[in-house]
């Protein structure tokens, strides 16, 4: 009905706006067509907006009604969140209990109505002349009515106690859930902080890995340059060794030539000696030959001396050359070993670079996973906060239900007290509905446990006959 009134109100406002527009046009002599079109559009927009709002409200009400009217014995997942579904199921159970309690209350009201009508009929019969044992019959009738009413009140009180217990349980579980949600929020918060720390560490390690990767690249380039230098040195050494070997061969040839010169000088010396001997044997006429032979012999001796010196020098050159060749060979071997070491170092650096790249990839994956975990943790915190809000709302509803049950128990007690005069005083029963703290009142911000409404249905105790 409220929606209909709201719809009528919005339509009435739209009509009023249209009328005001027409009146304004009339009084201001404006162009009636343009203003009328604007008014029409405004009216259509307002009407459509009100229709849309009414439609949304009707849809929301139907969904709530559907959620409440679902069979409470079937666990339905309406929201997809277990806590919400549990709360909603609790609400549906409460609604069902309230519905059954209202049903029983209606039945008891019908029973009371029937008793009242029966009393009215008996009063009519009594007035009709059945006056012999009327008082006794009336008392018996009233006692029976009181018994029936007691039974109905007892049922009401039992139901009320059950509702109260259920609301207490709901409130208790809601509080426990609130505490659990608070702890879970704290834990998730800590987890998020830990994941943030892990993320920062991963980022730091990734930066370090990138730095080490660049250093590995620089080391790789240096090793390559060292390899080229070693190769160049090796080629230089090989060239020097080859030149020294050539020099050794040439010096050997020089030594051979010097040896030949020495032999020639020796032969010359011998020839000069023979000439001298021959000139001596010749006598006075061969004296000039003796002088020439002596000069030739001196020249031969000088040539032999020079040849010996050349041979000595060549031998020293050959020794130095062979020593240099040995040194160069040793250096070449050392360079070969250095080159082998550089190859191994190069391989090690390449492996280190590959492993650092794979580690950087793994760190990137870890960082991505940590970011996803942080986002999920934040979503989880949001869901947990929603659950907490829902728990608080549930608790408020449970407190409202407790208030209602309290009122209902008071009403039942009043009915019981009203029926007390109708009982037999000597052999009847006394139904007393007591409330331990009848004057206690619940405030909206008090806990249900603190209110301690001990609704108790005391059993039908036999009334002690006063007489």
């Amino acid at each position: 009905m409220r929606l209909i009134r709201l719809s009528l109100l919005t339509h009435f406002i739209a009509a009023a706006i249209g009328a005001v527009g027409v009146a304004t046009c009339w009084w201001t002599n404006a162009q009636f067509g343009i203003v009328g079109a604007a008014i029409t559009v405004a009216v259509i927009l307002i009407g459509g907006l009100s229709w849309l709002i009414a439609r949304r409200l009707v849809t929301a009400i139907s969904r709530l009604d559907q959620a409440v009217t679902v069979d409470p014995t079937t666990q339905v997942s309406l929201t997809g969140i277990d806590e919400f579904d549990t709360l909603l199921n609790h609400l549906r159970e409460c609604v069902q209990r309230w519905t059954s309690a209202a049903k029983r209350s209606r039945e008891q009201a019908q029973m009371l109505d029937a008793v009242v009508r029966r009393m009215d009929r008996r009063r009519i019969n009594e007035l009709a002349g059945q006056r012999g044992h009327g008082a006794e019959q009336l008392r018996a009738l009233l006692a029976g009515i009181a018994d029936d009413a007691d039974g109905a009140i007892r049922q009401i009180l039992e139901t009320t106690a059950e509702i109260h217990q259920s609301t207490k349980e709901i409130s208790g579980s809601s509080e426990i859930r609130t505490d659990a949600v608070s702890k879970a929020t704290t834990y998730v918060d800590q987890l998020s902080n830990y994941i943030d720390a892990i993320l920062r560490q991963v980022e730091l390690h990734r930066e370090q890995q990138q730095g080490s990767s660049s250093e590995s690249d620089a080391a790789f380039e240096r090793i390559e340059s060292l390899k080229s230098v070693v190769q160049r040195q090796r080629s230089y050494i090989e060239a020097s060794e080859s030149k020294l070997r050539t020099l050794g061969d040439q010096s050997r040839e020089i030594a051979n030539i010097a040896h030949t010169i020495g032999e020639i000088s020796s032969r010359t010396d011998m020839l000069a000696l023979n000439v001298s001997i021959e000139s001596v044997r010749t006598g006075e006429s061969g004296r000039g030959f003796t002088v020439v032979a002596e000069e030739v012999r001196k020249l031969a001796e000088q040539a032999a001396r020079a040849s010996r010196e050349v041979t000595s020098l060549v031998e020293s050159i050959q020794m130095e050359t062979s020593s240099s060749i040995k040194v160069l060979s040793t250096q070449r071997q050392e360079l070969d070993e250095e080159q082998t070491l550089l190859e191994r170092t190069n391989e090690i650096v390449r492996r280190m670079t590959d492993s650092s790249k794979s580690v950087a990839g793994i760190l990137s994956d870890i960082g991505q996973s940590a970011s996803n975990q942080v986002r999920l943790a934040r979503d989880l915190i949001t869901s947990v906060e929603r659950i907490s809000t829902s728990s608080k709302q549930e608790r408020g509803r449970a407190e409202a239900v407790a208030w209602a049950t309290n009122s209902l128990s008071g009403f039942a007690r009043q009915i019981g007290q009203a029926l007390n005069p109708l009982r037999y005083e000597d052999a009847g029963y006394d139904v007393r509905v007591t409330q331990s703290e009848s004057t206690h009142s619940l405030s909206s911000n008090e806990h249900l446990e603190d209110s301690d409404h001990d609704l108790q249905v005391q059993s039908f105790e036999p009334a002690v006959a006063a007489e």
Binding site: R267, M270, L273, S276, I277, E278, V280, R281, R297
Partner: protein, 154 residues
């Protein structure tokens, strides 16, 4: 038989393998040459190195040092003799020189070259023993004959 020598004749100086210096008359030397191929003669005294072929002649060659029978000398002196030229293996020929020889009596009782020393001279602060060519040859012939006689070859 001793050659007649003057006090200032030209002499040919040579050195043996044991570094001893000797001299002979230069006129008794035909030539000096490197050691040619020498063919050893069987059943001969080790003093005789063998025969060699020089300038269409077969020359007997003897060692200057009896202690060294193997041929290690570098030069050979070809000597004149009335029976023909012959070779003497020496370490090296030092050259010709004029020597003032103090003559001695020929020591026929010596062995080797010492058996033919006819005098001594001084040359460049060294004592040179001067040999007589013919006495040396006769000494060698006696040595060879006695050897062959000893082994009953002659």
């Amino acid at each position: 038989m001793v050659n007649e020598v003057s006090a200032c004749d030209q002499y040919c100086l040579f050195r043996t393998r044991n570094r001893e210096a000797f001299a002979v008359l230069a006129t008794s030397v035909r030539e000096v040459m490197p050691v040619p191929n020498i063919t050893p003669i069987p059943l001969s005294d080790p003093l005789l190195a063998g025969l060699c072929h020089v300038r269409n002649e077969f020359l007997p060659v003897v060692h200057s040092d009896r202690r060294n029978n193997d041929i290690r000398e570098k030069q050979m002196m070809v000597m004149f003799s009335p029976t023909g030229p012959w070779g003497l293996l020496v370490e090296n020929v030092l050259g010709l020189a004029q020597l003032e020889v103090s003559l001695n009596s020929v020591g026929a009782d010596g062995s080797g070259l010492s058996a033919a020393v006819m005098g001594t001279a001084s040359h460049e602060h060294e004592i040179i023993r001067v040999l007589d060519n013919n006495t040396l040859l006769q000494h060698f012939e006696r040595q060879l004959r006695s050897h062959w006689k000893r082994i009953n070859v002659a």
